[in-house]
Symmetry: C2
Subunit: 192 residues, 2 copies
């Protein structure tokens, strides 16, 4: 009878479980809101468990970010590589900015912790990699050398700023139709 409730909680936890939960917590309440005792409550244990799996809070944060860095960038690139036409790739990239909100929320949360010494290097790597990829696609689409890099930086900056303005500041959010129209406007403005 009572076992049905208990079954929902895993009997024992792994480091993976903590990392996943940490990413969820970050997406919801930011890096600053990541606290081991609150995470433990969320997982139905106490922090006695946590300190068996990780040496301290920063270690959990680093592990969670490593997991995010691995999966998140991979997913995006994989989806794009199915397209061959560079113009289509660019359009798909831009449209992806308005879908898949879970992933974007996590990224937006991380962007509000650029001053954190564990977070900053990860963000630098991710941004550099993505901008580099974007620049290559712009180059494939016919833009010359440095222009492709500048355009990539512009497009990526617009994406980052969009996350800040739209996801974090709720009064600036766009309706669904407006969002689609906006993305099409951006595509028209930034794709050669």
């Amino acid at each position: 009878m009572d076992s049905s409730v208990v079954k929902l909680e895993r009997a024992r936890l792994s480091a993976d479980d903590w990392e996943k939960a940490a990413l969820e917590s970050i997406a919801e309440s930011g890096v600053g809101g990541l606290a081991v005792e609150s995470l433990a409550r969320r997982l139905g244990v106490t922090k006695g468990s946590f300190y068996w799996h990780f040496s301290n809070r920063d270690a959990l944060l680093a592990a969670a970010l490593a997991r995010w860095e691995r999966s998140d960038t991979h997913n995006l690139i994989a989806r794009i590589e199915t397209l061959t036409d560079p113009y289509e790739r660019l359009r798909e990239l831009f449209r992806a900015s308005s879908r898949d909100m879970r992933s974007h929320r996590t990224y937006a949360a991380l962007l509000t912790a650029t001053d954190h010494k564990v977070v900053a290097p990860v963000l630098e790597r991710v941004a550099a990699e993505r901008m580099g990829y974007l620049a290559r696609v712009f180059a494939q689409a016919g833009m010359k050398g440095i222009d492709a890099e500048y355009r990539a930086r512009l497009a990526y900056s617009a994406y980052v700023g969009f996350l800040q303005l739209t996801l974090q500041l709720k009064s600036l959010k766009l309706s669904n139709e407006d969002l689609e129209a906006y993305v099409e406007h951006v595509i028209g403005a930034l794709i050669p």
Copy 2:
């Protein structure tokens, strides 16, 4: 003899002094780094002084943000209003993004606190006002209705993202020449 050192510190402080110091502290170490005891040390007093001028930390933050909201937006608009040609206005706005770093640093720091309940409304107002202004200038430059608004949002997003990427993540910073060239690229891409 020893008076020379003491003279550097003001004899007594006003609420204004605290607000200014708070803004400096925010520019350096973010909203989260704003602590009354550390601010007091910086001003050469103790927190006994602080709690005479303000009821609590949030009150100081609110006052400092109000001061920032007043002065910062005002300065920018005032400088732009001396130009009459809308294209020139846009170019000047974009170029201003790479100057006057003090003001930008403060804004970048505030952008990393979009989840703070005192900060968020201020940022929403400022962003909405500036985007509205931008949209009007784009309209003056010949863009039609909703397109001017979307272009304003795109330009402002690019600005916000630029602040995040270049000011907060130091490995992504551009050299002075690159920065100027980038701004010119953005001008070419976003001004009709």
